[in-house]
């Protein structure tokens, strides 16, 4: 597969800067922006590396995007990079959200404010779904094969989104089965 030329950050400060820029654009979640900034703009990761790190971030307990930021920072610059990523991602948004929390009570009853929040919520949902579509291409080269990959993705969507199964059950059950199948296919 043809990979685009990958770049790498020069210093831990670059990491803090990029994660800060990402966080400040991330209304309703940082994931869609993270894919755009890390893969398409900075080219620190390929599409499939992004997906792999996201998987790791999802499976490990804790906030996915923070886990992913720490791991990326750590891979480039060790614990200094991890700290830079965490500070970049969290510091400015923390100040903003606390300021909003203090202002919130004053304006919550305005219909325009409530409406804007709903509109932003709908777009946030679309951003997450759109990002998933962008990453689907990464499954083509998956050793699982296309059909089993599609089946696992669909079953996960149904189990979590519609049947509301607990996350632990899905990750251990379906995830375990999927990893076992991949293990078997890789050994042939």
């Amino acid at each position: 597969m043809l990979e685009p030329q990958l770049q790498r950050p020069q210093t831990a400060r670059d990491i803090a800067r990029v994660f800060n820029r990402m966080a400040l654009q991330g209304f309703g979640g940082v994931l869609a922006v993270a894919q755009r900034e890390l893969v398409e703009r900075e080219r620190w990761l390929t599409q499939s590396q992004f997906l792999e790190l996201l998987s790791l971030g999802q499976v490990l307990p804790g906030p996915n995007i923070v886990n992913m930021a720490l791991i990326i920072g750590d891979r480039f610059f060790g614990w200094r990079g991890a700290a830079a990523a965490a500070v970049g991602l969290l510091a400015a948004p923390l100040l903003i959200v606390l300021l909003l929390a203090t202002l919130y009570r004053e304006y919550v009853d305005l219909p325009a404010v409530a409406g804007a929040l709903r509109g932003m919520g709908a777009v946030a949902a679309g951003l997450v779904i759109g990002t998933a579509f962008k990453l689907l291409g990464g499954l083509r080269s998956n050793p699982l094969g296309r059909l089993p990959s599609a089946a696992v993705a669909l079953l996960t969507l149904l189990a979590i989104g519609f049947w509301r199964w607990p996350m632990v059950t899905v990750v251990l059950g379906l995830g375990g089965a999927s990893v076992a199948l991949a293990w078997w296919r890789l050994g042939r």
Partner: protein
């Protein structure tokens, strides 16, 4: 000013320690993100301790979702509303320290073994699950607006714009905010 800095319960060491411990325990259970532990946080701070009302808890989560930055920051708003800045430190460090330590240890271990069959199988096997989870998260996020045709139209519009243009997501969020403020998502 005191209520701002210390919240409604004052700088009570017992409250802070309890917050730190409970959020720290949930941190290690938060597979799929901090938001998956929100129901248990609510049970603890609203039901068991009575530090916040239901409405205060729900608005804390909604506010952090709408603000820029990781959704995890709703734990900071919860801490802020309970015990001011000290509460923020308690809930945020509680939510972050255990999971970040584990994430870094796991990542370094995985990196050393990255050519092994087990690690390759892990990456390949989990990738479709991760995509399924993203789709499910997107679906769950549409829950508050499913009664509004205008807001529901914004979802496929956003997906299309994200896939077919190079517009930054922040502009799409701005479109959503304007449409919503004008009453289009009501």
């Amino acid at each position: 000013m005191n209520a701002l800095l210390y919240g409604t319960h004052g700088l009570d060491g017992g409250v802070l320690l309890a917050l730190f411990m409970h959020f720290g325990m949930l941190s290690l259970l938060a597979i799929g993100g901090a938001i998956t532990t929100a129901p248990d946080m609510q049970r603890f701070v609203v039901g068991e301790r009575g530090w916040l009302t239901d409405a205060q808890f729900t608005s804390s989560v909604a506010l952090a979702q709408a603000a820029p930055g990781p959704n995890l920051l709703f734990v900071a708003v919860v801490g802020w509303n309970i015990a001011g800045l000290a509460g923020v430190v308690a809930t945020l460090t509680g939510s972050l320290l255990p999971s970040t330590t584990l994430a870094l240890a796991a990542s370094r271990y995985g990196d050393r073994k990255r050519e092994s069959r087990a690690m390759q199988a892990f990456g390949a096997g989990m990738a479709p699950l991760t995509l399924g989870l993203l789709l499910a998260t997107g679906w769950v996020l549409t829950a508050p607006v499913r009664d509004s045709p205008g807001a529901l139209l914004l979802v496929p519009f956003t997906v299309l714009m994200l896939l077919k243009t190079r517009l930054s997501p922040i502009w799409l969020v701005a479109v959503g905010a304007v449409v919503g403020a004008l009453g289009g998502a009501g």
